[in-house]
């Protein structure tokens, strides 16, 4: 572990259950074979040009040695092979030193004239073929594949396999890179892989232009590598995501898989293979909106923590608790959202141009046929009396105009909107939408929360059950600690590996959290950290107070500034610091000084 980043990472989220040793199933690496096949093909295609070149050279040289020449003294003379080869070499390569060793006779000149044209053709043919092959698409792809394969197989750190480097992949890549985690990218579009080089990542990110539906490509990208930690299927093609989930589940059942989909059917099919985590942005947005309606502070806390370190505290919304909602667009998103809204006990009116054709719409929600910009439709849907409004079509332009026309009728509406393209972001920002769904970001945040630290995900699962005022208090104490920008979240495990200095103290049964969180420099001061959760034997204790007694093996999820983190680590590792923090006594840290002290003052750790 020479890499400080790496050891840092291990200490952060070190897990002992890394897959090691031999893998159970052979992972196909078919594409690597394809690559070498291409190179053999190239060599094969160079045969004819090379044979032509050698023949032309041989004939020219032989001719020169056979044709009689004359020395300046008029004696008969024949060029040796050496002279002839030398002459042909500089003539063929168009350097042309002149007629050596003696001026040529007319017979020699005749032959040389012929050979000059011959060799020029030979060279042009050979070099032309070589350049054409180097330009060859297949050849370049083969080279890129080999380069990629080599890079991936040399990875000696845990890495994530990201399939699909769209907006979601990019956001995740940046977050994980900031955490010092490595990842490998596959995408079908070469522009996106080119963009990898332009993104300024700390670590080298191997990228391959390939179709991930081919298990061989996944194999090359490190599916079979024992350092692969997880597979993320994030393409915008549900079918491809399903194929990736399937491949990973069948070939590496031990790997966690996170897949994105917007279709419940595909989600079902994914669940048929192992236990992948399926993220449906529409579904998640509906869940979030429900939380936001019921508990604004909880929603604020969840979105803040999911956004990753550095994120600014999102504003706390004040959505209407009851009243009628108007949902424009009854597609996949509309359906998911209406289900969630109805589950909250809210009345929903649906507006869709295909309302009559859409099956199931006529059942319970009030349905209005139309786009939603028309005055008549707005009136019919009762936008003026509604409290909430959702612009959920798959077209950003219509969503924006839907919001504008609805606001004109009823300015106090709580507006939720769906943003489909990242380029529309600034427009939605100006519109000041109350709840904005950006599917790519929802997926990115979700995946980040799950993979960055497993404890955070557990914490987020528990948060909605704790009520709004609890969440508001937690947000207040976090902002009091370090302001409105989220600092790092990290996990510590109180065992003999991560906290060797605490072992004895924890065993006494009097180890209180408040003592552990004292500053090892001035014990009267408390470290500037917030303990979000203690996990003990699969039971979680959220925001524990200082009197909680710690036990060996407890896992703590903390947030705070880096300085506080270092201080806590000192307490956990250095015996003297722990002694001072717990009892207030200064004990020698070095071995010699400890020996020199009277035995009575020594204390067994």
């Amino acid at each position: 572990m020479g890499n400080p980043l790496l050891s840092f990472w291990y200490r952060l989220f070190g897990q002992n259950d890394r897959p090691s040793g031999r893998l159970r199933r052979p992972i196909p690496m078919a594409s690597a074979v394809q690559a070498s096949a291409t190179i053999f093909l190239i060599l094969r295609r160079m045969r004819v040009p090379l044979v032509v070149l050698i023949t032309i050279f041989a004939v020219s040289v032989l001719g020169l040695t056979l044709i009689p020449g004359r020395t300046p003294e008029g004696l008969p003379y024949r060029m040796s092979f050496f002279d002839a080869f030398y002459f042909m070499s500089y003539t063929a390569s168009t350097i042309g030193f002149g007629e050596l060793p003696y001026a040529f006779t007319d017979a020699q000149r005749l032959w040389v004239t012929a050979t000059i044209y011959l060799t020029v053709i030979g060279w042009a043919y050979a070099i032309g073929s070589l350049l054409a092959l180097v330009q060859d698409r297949g050849f370049r792809q083969a080279l890129a594949l080999q380069h990629f394969t080599r890079k991936v197989s040399r990875l000696r750190e845990p890495f994530l396999l990201i399939v699909g480097y769209g907006r979601t992949g990019e956001l995740l890549g940046r977050s994980f890179d900031a955490l010092g985690r490595r990842f490998v990218v596959i995408d079908v579009e070469s522009e996106r892989i080119d963009a990898l080089d332009l993104d300024a990542y700390h670590a080298d990110v191997p990228g391959l232009v390939a179709d991930a539906r081919d298990p061989g490509h996944l194999g090359v990208a490190g599916l079979g590598n024992s350092h692969c930690e997880a597979v993320l299927a994030l393409t915008n093609d549900d079918e491809a995501n399903l194929a990736v989930t399937m491949t990973a589940a069948l070939l590496r059942p031990d790997l966690p898989v996170i897949a994105r989909t917007v279709s419940p059917v595909i989600a079902e099919r994914m669940h048929a293979f192992g236990t992948p985590t399926v993220v449906n942005p529409f579904d998640r947005f509906g869940d979030h909106l429900r939380i936001a309606l019921r508990a604004p502070a909880t929603y604020q806390l969840i979105t803040w923590l999911e956004s990753g370190p550095g994120a600014e505290l999102p504003p706390r919304g004040s959505p209407p608790a009851d009243g009628r909602w108007v949902v424009c667009g009854y597609g996949r998103f509309g359906r998911e959202l209406i289900e969630d809204l109805q589950a909250e006990g809210l009345d929903v009116t649906v507006v869709d141009p295909l309302a009559d054709a859409a099956d199931g719409t006529a059942e319970d929600p009030a349905v209005v046929c139309g786009h939603g910009f028309e005055t008549a439709v707005l009136e019919q849907a009762g936008v003026a009396e509604a409290v909430g409004y959702v612009a959920g079509t798959d077209n950003d332009t219509s969503n924006l105009s839907l919001i504008a026309s609805a606001r004109r009728v009823n300015p106090s509406l709580f507006v939720a909107a769906r943003q489909n393209r990242p380029s529309s972001g600034p427009l939605f920002a100006v519109m000041d939408v109350n709840a904005l769904l950006v599917p790519t970001e929802v997926v990115a945040h979700e995946v980040f929360a799950q993979l960055s630290t497993p404890l955070l995900w557990r914490f987020l699962q528990e948060v909605p059950g704790r009520g709004d005022s609890w969440a508001a208090e937690l947000v207040d104490s976090m902002t009091e600690l370090y302001g409105r920008h989220l600092e790092a979240l990290w996990k510590v495990r109180l065992d003999h590996v991560e906290a060797p200095a605490l072992t004895g103290w924890l065993a006494t049964g009097e180890a209180r959290l408040g003592d552990l969180l004292r500053d090892p420099d001035v014990r009267e001061e408390r470290l500037h950290v917030v303990v979000l959760m203690i996990l003990r034997d699969d039971e979680c204790l959220l925001t524990p107070d200082d009197d909680v007694v710690l036990a060996p093996g407890d896992e703590l999820l903390l947030t705070g500034r880096p300085a506080a983190r270092r201080a806590l680590e000192t307490t956990m590792v250095v015996d003297a610091a722990r002694e001072y923090v717990v009892t207030g006594r200064h004990v020698p840290a070095s071995w010699i000084w400890a020996r020199l002290l009277p035995a009575g003052e020594r204390r067994e750790g």
Partner: protein, 128 residues
């Protein structure tokens, strides 16, 4: 009949025969070793090497290796001859000629291996 195999076999065998023709005779006598034959052996050996490019089979790889060895030996022999005939003040002495011919003898050995491989390949093909 595969024309590619004919051409391939022709060049492999021709490289061996030319090499043998140059090699045969008293090792130190320049009169018994024709320099044109050495030239032909080098050229044919190079062509045979190029023809072996891009064969993915195991036997193809060994073919290429033996051919490269023959090339190396023959080019070394040609350089030794050039040195003796053009650069050295003593000219083509029996010692220099012996060096040239023994180098080509090494190439002959590699060429014989090539021919053996060719025969092995042909025979195993017929058995299938």
């Amino acid at each position: 009949m595969n024309l590619e195999k004919v051409v391939f076999g022709f060049f492999v065998l021709l490289a061996a025969t030319l090499n043998f023709g140059f090699f045969i005779g008293d090792i130190a006598d320049p009169a018994l070793h024709n320099v044109y034959e050495l030239f032909a052996a080098v050229v044919v050996s190079l062509i045979a090497t190029v023809l072996k490019f891009g064969d993915r089979t195991q036997i193809g790889a060994v073919h290429l290796a033996t051919s490269l060895v023959a090339d190396l030996q023959l080019i070394a022999a040609a350089i030794a001859w050039t040195y003796a005939a053009h650069i050295s003040t003593e000219g083509l002495t029996p010692a220099a000629m012996a060096a040239v011919v023994s180098l080509s003898g090494g190439a002959l050995f590699a060429n014989v291996v090539s021919v053996v491989l060719l025969v092995v390949e042909t025979v195993s093909y017929h058995r299938r």
